[in-house]
Amino acid sequence: MLLTDQDWQAIRLTLHLASVVTLLLLLMVTPLAWWLAQTQSRLKAPVSALVAMPLVLPPTVIGFYLLIAMGPDGWLGQVTQALGLGLLPFTFEGLVVASLVYSLPFVVQPIQNAFESMGQRPLEVAATLRAGPWDRFFTIALPQARRGFFSAAVLGFAHTIGEFGVVLMIGGNIAGETRVVSVQLYDHVEALQYEQAHWLAGVMLVLCFTLLLGLSLVQKRAGWSGMKYGA
């Protein structure tokens, strides 16, 4: 194989990062998406807009502000230091936090859409069948929004893998800690090592293609096909 150990290390690190970020996002975002889908509060519009902000700002700009926020004088840095966690930049945990911010809208929106397109009716039906609010959420809302969760997971995962600007800003390019594939690839290109770059990009593409293809086959087998994606 034409990939170096460092390349493989970057691939492992990237997949690890994307998995951790996707899992955390699904857990954290579900209540938020549920609230956004259900609420009639006036806060809905500003909160939705806030969630979409990472889409607006260029990744390097997000990275720059995260670098400041996570720094010794930044509010996030003050918090992590007070908690005895030290500073986040240049650590794997820092990348996780940054990726959470960056991939947030990609995970919130499919789930929110799935909750919204489900409508109130199934929940009303469940209420007339003696299901309380939590019961309704777990037995009706979650399973009916499963396609939304699936697309959210795929988008969140893929987006974290492809993330570059933010990582570049706060990663510090430390092998095995923050040197993910996108950075490694960038380094190859910048160092004019195009062949190495082609191999790494190729392997990464094949790997992710296989992974996503496998996921959607699983989805199809689970009987979710024949229905509208994300509906």
Binding site: P122, E124, V125, A127, T128, L129, R130, A131, Q144, M227
Partner: protein, 365 residues
């Protein structure tokens, strides 16, 4: 499920005030919780809102609701939907798409107010004729099948009261005919009191014991279904013909002419025989336009049913050409719709004796 003896005395007391987007619902009534009570009115009259308020699905509705002495809603208090002992059948069959038919039924059975025995379970499945559908998913069912599953599901929760919001409205004529017998079975089995919202006179005629007529969010009339439908001023939804409902039973079958004789309080009627006829109480619907009047009995007419009657009231229709005549035949009320000119020509007035010719009558059950 409420024991039979208790259900007899049970009433639901509703005082509601609900306004939204230019529509308002305002009523104060007590309904007996026995048999089928139809909430009848044209679309937009507030029928569905009333049902949703009763179920607690309309959070902005003000007022009070008491089921017997159980408070469902009062000032500053609202029992959440999932704590009200009711079953609800929605207009469009709302099966959970992520569950099979069995999954949908079990969802209710697991949460039932009282334990559902296997015997009861199969009885309900049998009643709705859905046993063969258990393994299917909702998108594999026809509209009628879905609605039957939805009704079974609402029954399996073992509610004290079943609310049905136009359960047939989303179905075509053939599907309606498919489901109506199941609803009649349900009524005949007297499992529980039912509030049945509808704008279709046919359904109401076949099912209702009590009628509650709504118009623009106001209570227009309330009473026994037969008596109310025979009144001249019963407000009917657009497109529905005035007519009456007779209770009777088959007393004779004429195989030669393929006819049956129905006896009711005030006379007898010959109707063409149909295989679905069964013994026991019957309902016959006679539309006002199918009733004509003569002063003498016409033996030479093709019309089979001729009954002596007395004019009780006359009411001009809004177009001025037609007139609605209320008659009594024995103890039964009938309606006839004739031209005003004929009425003048015959000299119709209150107390006048006439012959009532019934061109056709439909057996509704």
């Amino acid at each position: 499920m409420v024991p039979e003896s208790n259900a007899d005395q049970m009433r639901i007391h509703i005082r509601l005030d609900f306004a939204e987007d230019g529509f308002s619902l305002c009523l104060d009534t007590r309904l007996p919780l026995k048999g089928v009570t139809a909430i009848f009115g044209r679309s937009g009259s507030g029928k569905t809102s009333l049902l949703r308020c009763l179920a607690g699905l309309e959070t902005r509705c003000q007022g009070s609701i008491y089921l017997g002495d159980q408070c469902w809603q009062a000032k500053g208090y609202r029992l959440p939907t999932h704590k009200r002992p009711l079953g609800y059948v929605f207009q469009e069959a709302s099966l959970f798409e992520h569950l099979s038919v069995r999954g949908n039924l079990d969802y209710a059975r697991k949460r039932a107010w009282q334990q559902v025995t296997d015997e009861e379970y199969h009885h309900i499945l049998d009643l709705m004729g859905i046993e063969p559908l258990l393994q299917r998913r909702s998108y594999q069912l026809s509209g009628g099948e879905r609605q039957r599953v939805a009704i079974a599901r609402a029954l399996l929760i073992k509610p004290s009261l079943l609310l049905m919001d136009e359960p047939l409205a989303a179905l075509d004529q053939a599907r309606k005919q498919e489901i109506l017998p199941y609803l009649e079975q349900l009524k005949a089995n007297a499992l529980l009191p039912i509030l049945y919202v509808s704008h279709a006179l046919e359904e109401v005629s076949r099912l209702a014991d009590t009628l509650l007529v709504l118009e623009s969010g106001q209570l227009k009339a309330q009473g026994a279904a037969g008596a109310l439908l025979a009144s001249l001023d019963c407000p009917l939804p657009t497109g529905e013909e005035p007519g009456v409902l007779l209770e009777g039973s088959i007393v004779e079958r004429d195989q030669q002419w393929n006819l049956v004789k129905i006896a009711f309080d005030g006379g007898e009627l010959w109707l063409s025989q149909s295989e679905s006829w069964h013994s026991g109480p019957m309902r016959v619907r006679i539309l006002a336009r199918d009733v004509s009047l003569t002063l003498a009995e016409h033996q030479d007419s093709s019309i089979l049913n001729r009954l002596p009657g007395v004019v009780r009231a006359l009411q001009k229709e809004s177009d001025g050409a037609m007139i609605l005549v209320r008659l009594s035949v024995g103890n039964t009320a009938l309606l006839a719709r004739i031209s005003r000119r004929s009425a003048v020509h015959l000299g119709l007035c209150e107390g006048k004796s006439v012959w009532v010719q019934i061109k056709s009558a439909a057996l509704v059950r």
